[in-house]
Point group: D2
Chain length 143, copies 4
């Protein structure tokens, strides 16, 4: 049930490379986060506002990355993000990172808990849930 997809681009920065000459593996989860951030903004639910106005935080509770090809300095990456599920206090995103020619460099997922500032589980409010759902709906119809 993949429901909301979003694609952005990001260039590999110099300090993201390492002495192997390619991007260090730890940056892929940062690129995932960029994709997730823009997906959330795109469905009318900017992450910063969720934290500041709704007191809802989405810490990562599970991360998986499969690295297929290296990402190189100055390369433009296409980051596709899908909001796959959103139930109770769990939200799951899936990602594909491609180079400009469409070759897949990495795939992955993040699972998030919905918590309050105090770190305790917190069910998504009706308002947030509604934005996520209508955003998903909109994306589905666009496909």
């Amino acid at each position: 049930m993949t429901v909301a997809a979003h694609t952005i681009t990001a260039r590999v920065r110099y300090p993201e490379t390492d002495r192997m000459g390619v991007a260090h593996h730890s940056h892929f989860s940062v690129w995932f986060e960029l994709g997730r951030t823009e997906l959330m903004r795109g469905i009318g639910c900017p992450y910063g506002e969720m934290e500041d106005r709704e007191d809802v935080y989405f810490p990562v509770v599970d991360l998986g990355v499969r690295y297929i090809r290296p990402a190189r300095y100055d390369q433009v990456l296409e980051i596709e993000t899908r909001l796959v599920s959103c139930e109770g206090v769990r939200v799951r995103f899936e990602y594909v990172i491609r180079d400009e020619g469409g070759s897949t460099l990495a795939t992955g997922h993040t699972m998030h808990a919905s918590v309050g500032r105090d770190g305790r589980p917190k069910r998504l409010s009706g308002k947030v849930r509604e934005m996520l759902s209508s955003g998903m709906e909109r994306e589905r119809n666009r496909c």
Copy 2:
């Protein structure tokens, strides 16, 4: 068949925290790498020398992290690393990160390919394989 374990400590640095007030999730794989680096050094096979003298690189091909409790600023982390398997051109490590009281903050794994500078698969040389194996043996006997 867990074969070589190694525990080091590392403090959470200020820039590793984010505005949620805890360590950003992307740094856990960096801490995994610190653990892996010291395990390799401990079994007589420092990573830098492997790259420089043996032309063997270990890029990460698969990463998994399960986040259980947040890591806080200035907290001393215990990073336990196990070299779990080493076959053909694949090497697998597993990790547990605990706080000073022994509570588990995160667990995870990395799978690495053995490649040359050109990025092509490269079987581990007899020398490297021997160091890894004898290191594993030593660890096993120590337990």
Copy 3:
């Protein structure tokens, strides 16, 4: 003698914030580098090509940053970069980072040495020097 100016935008990323709730000071020099990279690309002298084709590297030999206002999560930064001088084996850039309303958040400079892969000083080739000069000229005329 300010000679080539270039302005780009970049958003403050979540992992660039720290537990003080604002961007960590170490990221400003990364934003300077983004500005410098695009200025170089803009004058026909992409940094990656300089390294790969000309064997010219521009390590930073001096950095100065004056922090005036904090940069906040998700804020869009305007990064203005000027190529101020380029003589012998020294190249100097100056930077201003502003928020969307035009308020200055930080100013700074970097001085770079021109070196080869071996780290030794290396005078800029006629080709690189020409590109830098004509780029400067173009910028000057545009103002």
Copy 4:
């Protein structure tokens, strides 16, 4: 009037290197911060407690780094930190980073403002000032 010195060591991490094969220049200010953190702890004034108990933050308002030699992967750095002055709402530290052989890799300084959680200038409390002063005194006598 150099008043409190402190030396720690830190190893260059793999993700701190870049494709030039050496540590990226942005990490030096992180190493400065490590030195500053341990100096503060050493004089009985841990930075985290200052933030949490005294509501005093020390954002960097000015940073200067002079890069002399590159720092390499896995190299053990000696970071010497001096608390140079502490007046009103300004605190200044100076740093020298050396390799194991004692060669200087970089020097630098940071100037910090003393502010409250709200970001407004906040004079150091008598308690914090006293700890800093007695720490300085202790260091001076040790020399």
